[in-house]
């Protein structure tokens, strides 16, 4: 989610390589997020090769922002 929040969209291979995950492992995570409506997956072709890109939906962006807010609150409380 952090990676997708920092970019308009990322390809499946970019996510897999950056997170050092296997194809199956990443697919499971993306599927779970997709089912919750947080991630949108688009399939297209680039240079005649299939390209899968992922992006955060509006709901996903909102949920992630709330998550970041919560973490920041926890850190502030801890500092006190």
């Amino acid at each position: 989610m952090s990676m997708l929040a920092a970019a308009p969209e990322l390809s499946f291979t970019e996510l897999r390589d950056a997170l050092a995950m296997t194809d199956g492992n990443l697919t499971t995570h993306i599927r779970a997020l997709q089912q919750e409506g947080y991630v949108a997956v688009a399939k297209s072709f680039q240079n005649r090769r299939p390209l899968t890109t992922c992006s955060l939906t509006a709901a996903g962006r909102k949920a992630f922002a709330e998550y970041i807010n919560l973490l920041e609150q926890i850190v502030r409380q801890t500092k006190k």
Partner: protein, 211 residues
């Protein structure tokens, strides 16, 4: 204790980095289809009014379309604000600010250039050139804003620039006399094209939601 404090600072810095990256990458997605449809409808009505009432002099033409532009901007502002309130989001968000900053210079330049030519008293066939100039600057504005919006916006900007420049070059090199009223040109650029793009956005958004 010191280790705990250092970890808290580390957490805070990382969260700040995530937040900054998140805000920088966020695209403006708010209410594009309704805004385009509103702008297209008003553009078509304004063109019809210009034709019906024969507002063909430079000053009448510029005054009419300046007025329409002000109404469109105000309407777009209200539509975007309504959606922001509905989604419980701040209206003046970082993506909205970036889009506004990108739009301002080319729109200001376009308005100024047309105003200068109008005040200088250019009339007759030159009024049609004003329509093309407006379309070119508007296309530049859309393209600039497109860096912070959905992909189609840059292409939409290029459509304006391409058609207007192409038409001007054609008229200049072929020495063709364009008999069409400038209001027809404005109706096409700011009526038909907006309506077409708004319909495209609305239908593709509907398709995504259905999927």
């Amino acid at each position: 204790m010191q280790s705990n404090h250092m970890e808290t600072n580390w957490a805070e810095e990382n969260l700040q980095t995530i937040r900054t990256l998140m805000e920088r990458s966020a695209l403006y997605r708010r209410a594009l289809a309704p805004i385009m449809l509103f702008a297209g409808s008003l553009g078509s009505i304004t063109a019809a009014a210009g034709l019906v009432f024969h507002l063909d002099s430079g000053r009448a033409f510029t005054g009419l379309w300046f007025g329409a532009a002000i109404v469109v901007v105000a309407g777009a502002f209200l539509i975007a604000r309504r959606q922001a309130l509905k989604d419980n989001e701040p209206f003046w968000s970082p993506p909205t600010r970036r889009v506004a900053q990108a739009l301002l210079p080319p729109l200001t330049a376009g308005m100024s250039v047309v105003l200068i030519f109008t005040l200088a008293g250019f009339e007759g066939g030159f009024v049609r050139v004003l329509a093309f100039l407006w379309a070119i600057f508007y296309g530049c504005a859309l393209h600039a804003a497109g860096f912070f919006m959905t992909r189609g916006m840059k292409v939409f900007g290029w459509i304006y620039i391409g058609i207007a420049c192409g038409a001007l070059l054609f008229l200049a090199f072929t020495n063709t006399d364009l008999v069409l009223s400038a209001h027809w040109l404005m109706g096409f650029f700011f009526g038909v094209l907006h309506l077409a793009y708004g319909a495209y956005l609305y239908l593709t958004e509907k398709g995504k939601n259905a999927a």
